[in-house]
């Protein structure tokens, strides 16, 4: 199979749309050959993870494209950046890091991308539609767009997402094509009671387990007997994308391409069937905690970025309480959600509690935390998964309620009643 380019693709490759589009198309065309695509296809939206400052190379790449006059030609949102543009001075972020991260932010904005600065772009006005062909970066967003919305994106890596936005073209392959969206692994919840499925904490745990089993394959989950909220599905997708590169999870009766198991599998037989029980969920939950003992330095919520609904859930839990002086309390979110939460009167209780909000970025993508922060507690499986490696921190996973209780107590307090054998 050899790659056939359209006349417009050739024009871009020959420099007809300028040197930035030429470089971007050269990269897209090479990637099409890598993945064995026979043609490129149009996209009508993009979400860019590349704006995240990772070091001099990502900055040089951004400024090379910007310097060549790059412009995005589809509506394009920006993922978390490497710094909280207006709030970084309150934290340990080194000024030289901030300066470079700000340059990288400016470079992507100069290309015409919308400065949403969030890893939950599906909770903005730029949310894609069912069936829409898009090129998204950011693993949790990719999984959510494919699974929960039924939009279609491959797992676009940093540096490729922006090339797709500049050229408007991607290899016609992978999850863009209906046949590749069929379920491959069947996972059946057996004896997982409704009372477990109703709590928020269930979803990041289930997601962590799904990712580990799926390992990049399309999974079909059977046995969900409740209607999970959008934020529960967000937590599930983020967890599965972290633990196992999950990009598409069909939940029978819940997600749009899985009205029935038969439609999710596109009438094919699963490659593998795995039974998920409370025992396997308990084990998965255990893996999300690395800390031993009940010592605690910080609570951190909001990976993916906290939504307005999550602020509305959190605020009443904090009323009339105050965090322990030895435990910091942080929520990471977008400017949009922080503003909405503020207007809805949901930020004041957080501030009175002694909590802080960081926008644009998160604890994993900017060096904002001091090294004295050794033990974190979170309700996010994604934070739990990445913190040990990226921050060299120990982590405790718990429910939102556990996180608040622990912040007040100044030590880890967890309600284990749901998880007892």
């Amino acid at each position: 199979m050899s790659l056939m380019l359209s006349a417009d693709d050739h024009a871009q490759l020959d420099g007809g749309r300028g040197p930035a589009a030429q470089m971007a198309m050269r990269i897209i065309a090479r990637m099409a050959e890598v993945c064995g695509a026979d043609s490129l296809m149009d996209i009508t939206g993009a979400h860019i993870d590349s704006a995240l400052f990772q070091g001099d190379a990502t900055l040089e790449f951004a400024e090379r494209l910007a310097g060549l006059g790059a412009r995005v030609i589809v509506p394009t949102t920006l993922n978390v950046s490497g710094v909280d543009e207006h709030g970084w001075r309150e934290w340990a972020t080194p000024p030289e890091w901030a300066a470079k991260a700000l340059r990288q932010m400016a470079a992507y904005q100069s290309m015409g991308a919308v400065p949403t600065w969030t890893c939950a772009p599906y909770q903005t006005e730029w949310r894609p539609k069912f069936g829409q062909q898009i090129a998204w970066g950011e693993s949790n967003a990719i999984c959510f767009a494919n699974s929960v919305i039924g939009a279609r994106t491959e797992r676009y890596p940093d540096l490729m997402d922006i090339c797709a936005a500049i050229t408007g073209r991607v290899p016609a392959t992978g999850l863009h094509l209906t046949e590749n969206r069929a379920g491959q692994v069947q996972m059946r919840l057996v004896d997982v009671p409704r009372r477990a499925q109703e709590v928020d904490e269930f979803y990041p745990v289930l997601g962590h387990l799904i990712g580990k089993i799926a390992q990049g394959r399309v999974s079909v989950i059977e046995g969900v007997i409740v209607a999970p909220s959008e934020d529960q599905l967000k937590a599930l997708c983020a967890a599965a994308a972290a633990s196992g590169a999950a990009a598409l999870i069909h939940i029978v009766g819940v997600t749009p391409e899985a009205l029935t198991a038969e439609s999710a599998f596109q009438k094919r037989a699963p490659q593998q069937t795995v039974v998920i029980t409370m025992d396997s969920l308990r084990a998965a939950r255990g893996e999300l905690t690395t800390a031993v003992g009940d010592k605690l330095d910080m609570i951190v919520l909001g990976s993916p970025h906290f939504s307005l609904a999550e602020f509305k859930k959190l605020a009443p839990m904090l009323e009339g309480k105050r965090r322990h002086p030895d435990v910091q309390f942080l929520v990471t979110t977008s400017r949009l959600m922080a503003d909405l939460a503020d207007q809805a009167g949901r930020l004041a209780p957080l501030k009175q509690f002694g909590g802080k909000v960081t926008v644009d970025t998160c604890i994993l993508t900017t060096p904002m935390l001091r090294p004295e922060i050794k033990t974190l507690m979170t309700n996010s499986a994604k934070y739990a998964y990445y913190s040990p490696g990226l921050l060299n921190a120990q982590v405790v996973f718990g429910s939102l309620e556990d996180c608040v209780r622990s912040a007040v107590a100044g030590r880890v307090v967890k309600d284990e009643s749901l998880w007892r054998e």
């Binding site: 890598v34 040089e60 970066g137 890596p157 940093d158 390992q215 590169a245 490696g389």
Partner: protein, 143 residues
């Protein structure tokens, strides 16, 4: 003893290095220190190993889409693996290498091989990566 494994050069190039092999995928973001080349995913079997200048063999990348940025940074700072061998046709590793070629004129070879061949690789073998994607594996002289 040398044997030849036929592979597909996702990104062509030549390298010769000591192998570092694991049968678990790795996210470079949170899993690879771009300044030192150390594998820092504490849940990964290669945790603590230095992959810089090695022929790193993994079934695939995993997780975060920032893996490519980390690998590009590692190429720029001279702490990237000498070559990466996978089973899957891995977009992330391939892209990082292609962009490293565009930006710095130094891509690293990325080769996909069959799972049964992958299963024969061991850490500490001398692996020569050829331009056409063939791997010459020297099993006798573990380095």
């Amino acid at each position: 003893m040398a044997r030849v494994i036929k592979g597909r050069a996702l990104v062509g190039g030549e390298a010769e290095a000591e192998s570092l092999v694991a049968d678990e995928p790795l996210s470079f973001w949170g899993g690879y220190d771009q300044r030192t080349g150390e594998i820092i995913d504490r849940r990964h079997p290669l945790s603590g190993q230095i992959a810089a200048a090695r022929a790193l063999a993994l079934p695939a990348s995993r997780g975060s889409s920032t893996t490519t940025a980390v690998l590009l940074e590692a190429v720029r700072s001279g702490k990237a693996p000498a070559a990466i061998v996978t089973v899957a046709v891995d977009y992330f590793f391939s892209l990082a290498s292609i962009v490293a070629g565009e930006m710095y004129g130094k891509s690293i070879p990325i080769v996909a091989i069959a799972p049964e061949d992958f299963a024969t690789l061991r850490t500490g073998q001398r692996i020569q990566v050829c331009r056409d994607g063939a791997l010459i594996v020297r099993t006798g002289d573990v380095v």
